[in-house]
Symmetry: C2
Subunit: 351 residues, 2 copies
DNA sequence: CTGAAAGCGCTTACAG
DNA sequence: CTGAAAGCGCTTACAG
């Protein structure tokens, strides 16, 4: 391995001068600089990242902390991870993936001095990991928000997203709109913030509409989606449209609805919020989705953290971006009441 | 930040002895050890990972090198990434995600001394990144294989997987089985090895069956899947079953087939090989899949690399695991020829 | 504009 | 069983 000392010897300068050239930290005479650059070139020298980190007490490594994704990876999350990694690299940082589930383990990792900053995913309304992060004094940015809106975060604007979804359905004439959310194993106050925020936006919208809200909570799986379809059909038969905040249950909801002998969007219009365009295309009929701004948010999260590390920033960043409506074939006008009745009669006739 | 020196002072020993206790590298008298452990506890000391790395010239960081996944993440890949990260952590290593596309950039990263070893994904039959890796002298393991089977690798056993898929279809009576693969922008010799290997296994199987092979190559998207459906219908109308080696096109193939007025599995049986169970459940009808052993392989890849780093191993690991058949509803018996004819007549009648 | 030297916080032969 | 000391390869005041 070529060291800075060897470069210095070949260029007849001190290692300090070599360091100044490499980092651009000090003015160096043109001829000297040229000699050094030549030596670097000839020896194919690369600076040792670890030594630099120790000497400068900055590692240029960022940690991406996330709960265990091994079981049910979802497309939105991976888009986020990848774009954050890209964003970091472009600014000269590397992103380490740290799957941590318990706080204890997290504190150990942060205390090791390996990372300059951390990005936290799947933030809960009350999140003990955030307390650990603050205690560790490692700079961080959240993907999502806790109760405390003052911490640096980037997040999906769920209020605007749900409002747009409701507006889209209303423009087709829907009044009876249900919300399907995702069940988590966490206590209510430890739920991901997105569920709470989306639900409250939905409740507001229904209040404005003067209709009773219908919220169904199921697992984020195909089976969960089917369960939601049955629940809606049996317990809330007047429902004409559904907004999903449950990526994993989207396909199951459509399948389940059709298994009940109903059609999408004939009997039930469906919008899946905070997911990917690709998911919409995979399903039959193509799902109308609100595409999550995961690629943008990943980059912005990396930028927000790095700005903080480099002191480029004044106030803690609070970035909100809504999802984008991508129309598919799963939204249509609701049946008129008499039409529904006629259809029911036909069904009763055995056809 | 608490340093080892402070621990040593508090315990009245040298920093060397503290180091021995922390790393278990040398025998230390019980009382001395107890004093040191107490001091560590009281001061809440954590060893500085960067200093350790510089002194020991080992960073315990592993790089996961992958091409740009930002655009089209797929479920199998993310399962792999996550399980590799977990496997590494359990053995005291951290996995860094490095999205690199050009070789030049990769060489720079490897030369920095930040990583002890590398895992390379999406390996091509001839892969210049592998040459770079060898030149950099950084230990590595491949996910996939090049032409050269002697390098350390873990991979899906595509031969066994395709054989099992063909066998499954034959047990239903299928003889006219097509293969749908994925188009890449790479030159043929730079294609991912999986395509070549799956294709050759398929060709062997068809030769054994005494049937002409039909291979259709499309993009790994919904649109690609539709294109495959049309191509099969127009150019190879005798086809009764398809094996997909194209995760992203699976849903589109089924949708496209139904748009042509055909049914799955009535007119066409479908198996999607090397994907996830979840994908199968999302589609209607549920797809019969060959589930990729991504979680196992991720762990095994991490283990193989770490064994190498720690000298635990004799020969370079060559690990092959086949996919697992997960029956869905997309495979059935082919229509008998006369049945097909009758149906065609019915269709011609306008019904 | 350039250099000598201290220091980052550890590990690891080497001595005793 | 324990310690003094060199060294890992850089960065960074401090002098000149």
């Amino acid at each position: 391995m070529v060291t800075m000392r060897e470069v210095a010897e070949r260029a007849n300068v001190s290692i300090a001068t070599v360091s100044f050239v490499i980092n651009g930290t000090k003015r160096v005479a043109p001829q000297t600089r040229a000699r050094i650059e030549a030596a670097i070139e000839e020896l194919d020298y690369r600076r040792n990242v670890v030594a630099r980190a120790l000497a400068s007490s900055r590692t240029r490594i960022l940690a991406l902390l996330h709960p265990d994704l091994e079981i049910r990876p979802n497309a939105t999350v991976i888009q986020f991870v990848m774009s954050a990694a890209h964003g970091a690299r472009e600014r000269g940082y590397d992103l380490v993936l740290w799957p941590v589930n318990d706080d204890e383990q997290m504190s150990h990792l942060l205390a090791g001095g390996l990372v300059d900053g951390a990005l936290l995913m799947e933030v809960q309304i009350r999140d003990s990991r955030v307390d650990r992060l603050i205690a560790s004094r490692v700079p961080f940015a959240l993907i999502g928000r806790t109760e405390d809106d003052d911490l640096p975060f980037v997040d999906i604007d769920f209020t605007a997203t749900i409002d747009e979804a409701v507006g889209h359905l209303r423009s087709y004439g829907h009044q009876h709109i249900a919300l399907v959310t995702q069940r988590t194993k966490a206590a209510p106050e430890n739920e991901p913030g997105r569920i709470m925020r989306a639900e409250s936006a939905y409740l507001h919208a229904m209040a404005a509409l003067g209709r009773p809200p219908v919220v169904v909570t199921v697992e984020g799986t195909s089976a969960g989606g089917r369960e939601a379809a049955r629940t809606l059909h049996e317990r809330f038969p007047g429902t004409t449209a559904v907004i999903l905040l449950n990526e994993g249950a989207s396909a199951g909801l459509v399948k389940g609805t059709r298994e009940l002998g109903l059609t999408v969007p004939g009997d039930l219009s469906v919008i899946s919020a905070s997911t990917t365009r690709e998911l919409g295309e995979m399903i039959e009929p193509s799902l109308t989705v609100m595409a999550a701004p995961a690629p943008e948010l990943g980059r912005l999260a990396a930028d927000a953290l790095i700005d903080q590390l480099e002191g480029v920033q004044d106030a803690p960043p609070h970035i909100l971006i809504p999802c984008t409506l991508v129309p598919g074939e799963s939204v249509g006008s609701p049946r008129l009441p008499d039409e529904t009745a006629k259809r029911a009669t036909r069904n009763a006739d055995g056809r």
